[in-house]
Symmetry: C2
Subunit: 434 residues, 2 copies
């Protein structure tokens, strides 16, 4: 389909999509403080993607925020595709709601941050949102005609962890996508649950970790024998999963017992342990929250029934950390094409100012997202090192030598050999991200 774009987005790269390095406010660093032991935080700090405010509390700088937004975009598209509707719930939480479900007491939920209201009373900072969304939906669900419903949000969550560790993979303040489903009964719930599993696989696929991310069996709850997690095989992961040879069955450690395996016709010796990082979890909640909070609907026959719920989480900032751990190499970050903050890191060597600026403008006009290292006071070696450290998928170098052949040099961040290409060959290789 060909459409005429309105003027405002013709030059998509006027702003943050394309950028000159001399204007980007963040610097890169050779070293970071010794107290930061996780590889993902070390690299993200060195590359100027994040800033550490406190242990387990990180600011996202422009490059880091772009990665987060790229991840969100993929998740959002897949949640919309299964019928999710986006909302934005609150951080401050009403104590009474959580008392109703017996989750206010810090003995029941030990990761609460609580705070005092000046007007009197206590509030919590949301570690999750089952209670408020269940209570809210009592106003929007009345009849069987109002079901099923799927609501999600991207929201900052707070967990008062005793120890922060693993960089951005386990923090006290983090970005989550959480979706909640509201169904008539178990059958309607399960249909959506299966659909969401497929949507989750699509998300990981698009993030470039589809082939190493597995749905696992994890401990269940009141309404289902098992919950499910999505675990990405990753040496820096905090979990251990047990996989059989063809990876058709993967179990979290807590359910890897003889009894449970017997249910699946399997035995322990068929499985090998792997370190893994949890990148998603989904639960059949059943009536666990709907019952105490009174979320009911009228059936066709005008009987009252309790809504059957599910919840579906993905840790967005955690995913960013996991992707660093998996893809980074000894030179620095490596981003999948779909999430990288820029597609091209552009460098000029020698007396090529005019030509490199021209190429920057041409790529920009084509909608390719370019970070142009135009720093006058940086040596070529520094620029090349930063191209690697920042992990942008393609490096394009314009040099006197390449220009003598009428070409520019293209190197993939993950490749070792640069290619000499004409500009038109280069443009053909560059996909415009949407």
């Amino acid at each position: 389909m060909w459409v005429r774009l309105p003027l405002a987005i013709q030059f998509i790269c006027d702003t943050m999509s394309c950028m000159k390095r001399s204007e980007l406010f963040t610097k890169t660093f050779k070293n970071v403080s010794g107290e930061e032991t996780s590889r993902n935080a070390q690299l993200l700090l060195r590359a100027g993607y994040i800033h550490k405010e406190l242990a387990g509390v990180y600011t996202y700088l422009p490059l880091g925020l772009k990665v987060l937004e790229n991840i969100k975009k993929i998740i959002r598209e897949e949640m919309n595709a299964v019928g999710g509707q986006e909302a934005l719930m609150t951080t401050l939480q009403n104590k009474e709601l959580w008392e109703t479900t017996n989750r206010w007491d810090s003995k029941k939920m030990d990761i609460w941050f609580k705070t005092d209201l000046a007007a009197g009373g206590q509030l919590g900072l949301a570690p999750t949102h089952e209670e408020p969304i269940t209570a809210m939906m009592t106003q929007h669900i009345a009849s069987y005609k109002d079901l099923p419903r799927y609501v999600y949000q991207f929201q900052t969550k707070f967990r008062n962890e005793l120890r922060a560790k693993s960089g951005v993979m386990r923090t006290r303040e983090f970005l989550m996508k959480d979706m909640y489903s509201f169904s008539k009964d178990k059958a309607q719930h399960e249909e959506f649950y299966e659909k969401t599993i497929k949507a989750y696989h699509k998300v990981y696929e698009r993030l470039g970790i589809g082939d190493i991310t597995y749905k696992t069996f994890a401990s269940g709850g009141v309404f289902s024998k098992y919950s499910h997690e999505f675990q990405t095989i990753c040496p820096a992961g905090e979990d251990v999963v047990y996989m059989n040879k063809d990876h058709s069955l993967v179990f979290n450690e807590e359910v890897f017992t003889d009894d449970i395996l017997a249910e699946f016709g399997a035995k322990k010796t068929d499985f090998a342990p792997e370190k893994a990082a949890e990148v998603g979890n989904i639960f059949s909640l059943g009536f666990k929250y709907a019952e105490p909070l009174g979320l009911e609907y009228s059936t066709k026959e005008d009987a009252k029934k309790t809504v059957y719920m599910g919840c579906y989480g993905i840790g967005v900032s955690r995913l960013m950390g996991v992707m660093v751990e998996i893809f980074a190499d000894e030179k620095g970050l490596v981003w999948a094409d779909n999430v990288a903050p820029f597609q091209v890191y552009l460098v000029g060597i020698g007396d090529v100012d005019k030509e490199v600026v021209e190429l920057y403008d041409e790529l920009t006009k084509k909608g390719v997202e370019v970070l142009f290292d135009d720093r006058a006071d940086a040596r070529t070696g520094e620029k090349m090192a930063d191209a690697d450290l920042l992990g942008v998928p393609y490096r394009v170098v314009v040099s006197e030598k390449s220009l003598a052949e009428g070409k520019v040099e293209l190197k993939k961040r993950t490749g070792s050999t640069p290619q000499l290409l004409t500009k038109s060959q280069l443009f053909d290789k560059m996909k415009v991200r949407c």
Copy 2:
């Protein structure tokens, strides 16, 4: 410019851009709880744009979130246009930083929410971000070559207000755009300050409140005699401003004194009071935060100088409330074209199912954002009332009568007379938002 769009955005309206009312999870309400006295919150609650969690704490439902995102988009474009770079700072705040500037003590800043860290120590929930950004920039500003810099974010802020009032205009948890500028000296700062004033006027212009929003003189600080606010004339506003006849001089109440007026060659009798709502404030901070937090740079001559700062706020959720107060009428909400959650509210009357679905699909494919009221069990009167209550700029009605003339009916939310148009006339009138 004609470009080939990638497959993924061809049907831009597959998801939340176009929607069937039967699928939208939010309902509308005839009445809201009597404790909600502000008109903006009453209407936003009735129309299903927001949900009240606590006094002064509101969830944004899909329609409300779309309005917020539309407002953010406009602000973001204008901040990028003056060179702003977007980041995302944290809610949890490091006590030590705020002690350095003497703003931790609740006697100095009485709106803090504070919370205890399980690992020991106390944290704050950010009511603003001068301290953390100043401290952070010590890592990214070293030399005069690193200046000026402009950093902004959209972030949820927390204020422990004794009383919540005025609906979403004054809340305990709210969305702000805050930008911070870092300049070499006062002259460089003032150049940007003036540029930002122009950018702010553009924002209000695009939001449809440009003609009733004024830059006012407000009380200053250590480094400038005055700060400036942007005040929108609004009967529900909490402030009073004093304007002269041609509106060339507008003063906040706190600086409306004989002495100050004399400086401007004016006298009190030239001014009339007006109720107004603050929709932006900008400050010259000078060295106020940079000095105690050690934000310095090296000059060309290798001398150390303190960075000169400014800050620039816009309350995003507050703006939403102000726009409701200004534009709403007795029938409900009225949104400016640029911020409305949808452009068209589509209704079919009588036996026109096939034709109205066809029109929905056609509008959708053209990229017009449509909310199609396809509810089988709602009467026409209810649909018309909801079209008004939701405040979508255009209502399109397909009826047997209009079809008999080969036409459809278009009515502006703010107009009284519907027009009969052919489909192609209708399409010509509908602009595609970007």
